[in-house]
Amino acid sequence: MTGPAIQLEGVSFDYPRGPRALDGIDLQVATGELVAIVGQNGSGKSTLVRHVNGLLRPTSGSVAINGRPVGRRHVAELAREVGLAFQNPDRQIFAGKVRAEVAFGPRNLGRRGADLDAVVERALAIVGLTGDEDTNPYDLGFSRRKLLALASILAMETPIVILDEPTTGQDARGISRVQKIVADLSAAGLTVIAISHDMRFVAESFQRVVVMRAGRIVLDGAPQGVFAEEAWPTLASTFLEPPLAARVGARLGLGATPTEAALVSALAAQAPAR
């Protein structure tokens, strides 16, 4: 693979009836990076990721995946390189059995027979649905259906995976599971991007946070930087708040502590535990 996994240069996008949803976006994501995109609804997060797999084409600017320009390549072709899991699983589930649902993606990409079965089993194992192959998706609760939708994307085994709000509607167990999945995918070398509202999830699980407001990127860096006190006014301008750990750290004069773990280490560094 040549070049960064994802490259957007000067990308602007206008919806047909008016609002400018993206305004001159320059963004580079290296292969294997673990990136969270945050921002208010309407800030352009979903619009941005839809440019990565070709569902939307920029009004101006260019998009390149793994060094090759996206141009007018079909979405179905780009689906070999970019897997996008949507927020609402019920907008994609159409099969009567879990296995068939998960097999849809890889089958479209040309897998058959034993190869297809293997890929489906691997995906189900990652999300914890092994054993539910013959279950009707609507017999699973909402959070497990969401995991099913994720599995159907993972089964496509694309080098780039994008997750739209993976933790919304999940209970604590579901969120832990998603955190583990994200960590495992990254450890396996995939480029992982997630859109999320959950600042704790973002601070704990991602190396890089991109903050959007009104179609532009206003902050881009590691959680330590993005949730540090200097950045709080910018975050506030886009109606986001830093995780509580960061606020506690600032209050105690410990510098940037976006996660509980960082808070604990900062305290330990300052004065050893009694």
Binding site: R50, N53, L55, H74, V75, A76, E77, A79, R80, V82, G83, L84, F86, N88, D90, R91, Q92, I93, F94, A95, F104, G105, N108, L109, Y138, S152, I153, M156
Partner: protein, 225 residues
């Protein structure tokens, strides 16, 4: 002039109304929609009118007749006047006013709701359909390019669309119940539609006039339809 006066009078009224209401341009799609039907009427009647012998010109085995042509044109006028009068109604009556009036006249709240919600749902269903298609395309379903591919895209669209609509029904029902939808008695009407004496007079006069015209025509006094 039997056979011509009816549709011509109606068309004249439609055109006059359209001119006054300035909806001329919006009528174009309705007029275009009528073309396929009109074309088949013209062809079938002109060339295949049973029993006609006054041939216009012989083109090989085809024998268009004057009788056929006259019948074709009459039928075309009838279709056009019917379709365009419906168009005038649709274009000059806001749905909300129509529903409010039906309600005032006693069409129950369920009827109103079904009509209003069905109309309102169309753009939302379209939006949902496009979201579902996007999901499936992102999973490698190729819907761009040939028509065959586009058709194939329908199957993984139908399931989620229908299931999604159905599964929402329960929640929507409860949201309606939570707003006392099933309370007995008449709903309060908010809109007072302007209805002057002259408008009421015209409505009654038009209705009576239609009955009189039909009776007179049947009795042979009027050259209608």
């Amino acid at each position: 002039m039997r056979g011509w006066t009816g549709p011509l009078v109606v068309l004249a009224m439609v055109v006059a109304t359209a001119a006054v209401a300035r909806i001329g341009r919006s009528m174009v799609p309705f007029a275009l929609a009528v073309i396929p039907l009109v074309a088949s009427i013209l062809l079938i009647n002109t060339f295949l009118f049973p029993g006609a012998t006054d041939v216009i010109v012989r083109i090989g085995p085809l024998t268009p007749t004057w009788t056929g042509l006259e019948a074709a044109l009459q039928a075309t006028l009838r279709v056009a006047s019917f379709a365009l009068s419906v168009a005038v109604f649709a274009l000059t009556t806001p749905t909300d006013d129509l529903l409010a009036d039906l309600e005032r006249r006693g069409l129950g709240r369920r009827g109103i709701f079904v009509i209003g919600a069905a109309i309102g749902m169309i753009p939302r269903i379209a939006e949902r359909a496009s979201e579902i298609t996007d999901s499936q395309r992102a999973r490698g379903l190729d819907t761009e390019g040939s028509p065959v591919r586009r058709v194939r895209g329908v199957v993984p669209l139908a399931g989620p669309l229908i299931i999604g609509a159905l599964s929402e029904v329960e929640e929507r029902t409860m949201a309606l119940e939570a707003r006392a939808f099933s309370a007995p008695g008449r709903r309060t009407t908010l809109r007072q539609l302007p209805d002057s004496t002259s408008q009421r007079f015209v409505r009654w006069a038009a209705g009576l006039g239609a009955i009189v015209a039909v009776a007179a025509s049947l009795a042979g006094f009027l050259p209608l339809p």
